[in-house]
């Protein structure tokens, strides 16, 4: 009945690519029959049968009966759809910011099984604190999902800063006291499951690829704006991290020679014009805040003022959106992406997601055979960042699963 799985040990690169291709095709299409996979990927039906049998045996995918509207059914053997098997892996993902840690539990299909948000101690925090805090968050969010931490296939952590994701190494993170240490290793010593660490914007890009607008498109850019400016570059279905692993520093591309001072110490960085601190820095020149107003509230007030026509406030946002357009146009000129996704949780400050910005980008990019990039806005809701981290964890878990597939086979 089923293709007998051989106890192989020697997997070829070719087979590995095939598995990845089939898996991601199923993921991107929710449900799809083997014959469609064959047609879409160019593989022969025989090969698709063989690979899907492996994936089913590994528990990563499962067959589902296709829904057929009455009267729509055709002759011939009916197609049997395949879909990801959600239960096969559940992971937690969390995002660290200076204010809080948000976390979710997702299954392989992207279903959110639980979430949590806990306050973050004021940065910079040290390793000891991290070692208490992160396991605690894992506990909490697992509980909210009704699972035990041991049931998690992995934990993903999203961070601002420069991260070597393959190593789990933190080169620099604004939240931490110490720098240059292996966070993955540290966490795996005190927790039972694999831990994966990634830059927060890259993690969101992976979430777009797995569960967002990137499902249909293999190449796109994801830009995130929050306290800083983040960029994730997806080329051919994979995160591009620069040729040495430290690229995509969009927030620190220069938009002004000898420009505004950035917290990185350089001048003229995009971040120094559009990040929260950059806006407030200028607002402080003319705005008087009530004692104890939070940064977030100040921003809200500033934005409200601009909307009401306050010229000083408006000028701040105008400049920010001009600079943002410029940075975005440079990305478009260099990467010629088919799609740019502006991803955010709430995007309450919509000056950066306005028609005006898109128009500026369009007028600042070279005509490209008449195809302009599609700029899409993706409002994820409050758990975007945590979902990104979880998506990264899923990707790593699946990557490892697929690679190990033939080496030690469980009976079906």
């Amino acid at each position: 009945m089923r293709n007998s799985i051989k106890k192989t040990s020697q997997i070829t690169e070719q087979r590995s690519q095939g598995r990845n291709l089939v898996f991601s095709h199923i993921r991107n299409n929710f449900q799809v029959a083997r014959i469609d996979i064959a047609n879409a990927t160019g593989m022969s039906p025989a090969t698709v049968t063989s690979i899907t049998a492996e994936l089913i045996a590994a528990g990563l995918i499962e067959e589902v009966q296709r829904e057929v509207e009455p009267g729509q059914s055709k002759r011939g053997r009916p197609r049997v759809d395949l879909k990801l098997r959600g239960e096969s892996h559940i992971v937690a993902g969390m995002k660290l910011t200076g204010r809080s840690i948000s976390a979710v539990v997702l299954d392989l299909e992207g279903k959110q099984l639980g979430k949590a948000k806990v306050p973050m101690p004021r940065p910079p925090i040290d390793r000891t604190a991290l070692c208490k805090l992160i396991p605690q968050v894992v506990e909490t969010v697992s509980a909210s999902a009704g699972v035990k931490p041991e049931d998690l296939s992995a934990v993903g952590i999203g961070l601002p800063g420069t991260i070597q994701a393959t190593e789990g190494f933190v080169d620099w993170c604004p939240l931490f006291q110490e720098q240059e240490f292996n966070l993955k290793q540290l966490m795996e010593e005190i927790m039972p499951m694999p831990v994966f660490v990634e830059n927060d914007a890259n993690a969101v890009a992976i979430a777009e690829l797995w569960f967002g607008f990137g499902r249909d498109v293999p190449d796109f850019l994801v830009v995130t704006i929050e306290q800083g400016v983040g960029l994730g570059i997806v080329l051919d279905g994979e995160i591009f991290r620069g040729t040495q692993g430290f690229g995509a520093e969009f927030g620190h591309t220069k938009v002004q020679s000898e420009g505004a001072l950035c917290r990185c110490g350089q001048r003229g960085c995009l971040e120094a014009y559009v990040a929260d601190y950059a806006l407030l820095r200028e607002a402080n020149l003319f705005k008087h805040w009530e004692e104890g107003t939070s940064e977030e509230d100040r921003l809200v007030q500033l934005f409200a003022a601009a909307k009401e026509g306050d010229r000083m406030a408006k000028s701040i946002f105008d400049r920010a959106s001009r600079m943002f357009s410029m940075g975005l146009a440079n990305l478009v000129n260099l990467f010629d992406p088919a799609m740019v996704i502006l991803s955010g949780e709430q995007m309450q400050f919509d000056y950066l997601y306005a028609q005006q910005v898109f128009d500026m980008v369009r007028s600042s990019t070279i005509l490209k055979g008449h195809h302009e990039p599609e700029i899409r806005i993706h409002k994820w809701g409050d758990m975007m960042w945590a979902k990104g981290a979880a998506a990264f964890a899923l990707e790593e878990v699946v990557r490892i699963s697929l690679d190990q597939l033939g080496s030690a086979e469980t009976s079906a």
Copy 2:
């Protein structure tokens, strides 16, 4: 004695990759023994034997006796080196500018067999003129190399502008009257050999990869400065043209919001600060040229003035180099390249290749795990651009040869 070549017809992707890997390893190392190829690529010696036998049978490579200094010789069967077989393909490459067409004939090993330089009619020129001009240049340069045009395996053409290299389609080129036409097709109708068309900066990047500083490095950026600013991005040994084929528009990345007017119609483009026309545009404000002074001579005078301390002239170059640094820093921040090559023919105006520029780039890039990009200057001499076009032609010819390898076999 020799591995018998099967008359196959069904070549796998895997084999094709293997061939490419072996071929480029031989090319990058001039001469190398099979065992070294196996060690360097991770392939088994058996596979290397098999692939190199194919390449030898196809005439692309050949065995050479290794030079052994007396006394240096070791025990064991001596290694037999392999190298590219120059005679197997000779190609012509030409570069079109508004002033002239320069052309070379190269063999597969990169040896220059001939060269020519002919005047270009004043742009814009039309298709009819092209159809006369280009075959004429091919004739001339072939003659200079002592070969007939029919002996050329291909002709490569390098152009400024936006080109779809895979199609040979010119989307936009400042030299031509008509736009959006298939130059490759047009030329192949009137000439007997395959024609390949590529953006000039990309072509130079391929020349760096095949015969220049890129031999040892699979990922690097090539920046060219001439009348405009060009960029070639090499990722993993291949030109990155953007996800839709129109990326790498470095000259039109923005370095100033609402900045100087560029000939592309936009404002603030890098080109509008560093290209020849941009420098002269400002110089015209205070410099009085003799009647009939050529653009090139004006530039020489301007540069001399700056060197002598003329404040106005100096200010022009200062700004240009500041803007150039900024653009370069943005590339470094986005791509994190291990190497940036500044390629030029003469580089007489060395303000853009100065320590000052490198320092600015360094201070405008995010710390990257302590590894900064190596910035190298490559002074090619007068045929750089034409060699680039020829290198592109070689790459295409070899790509096609390797792909077709098993499908129709000639007897050894």
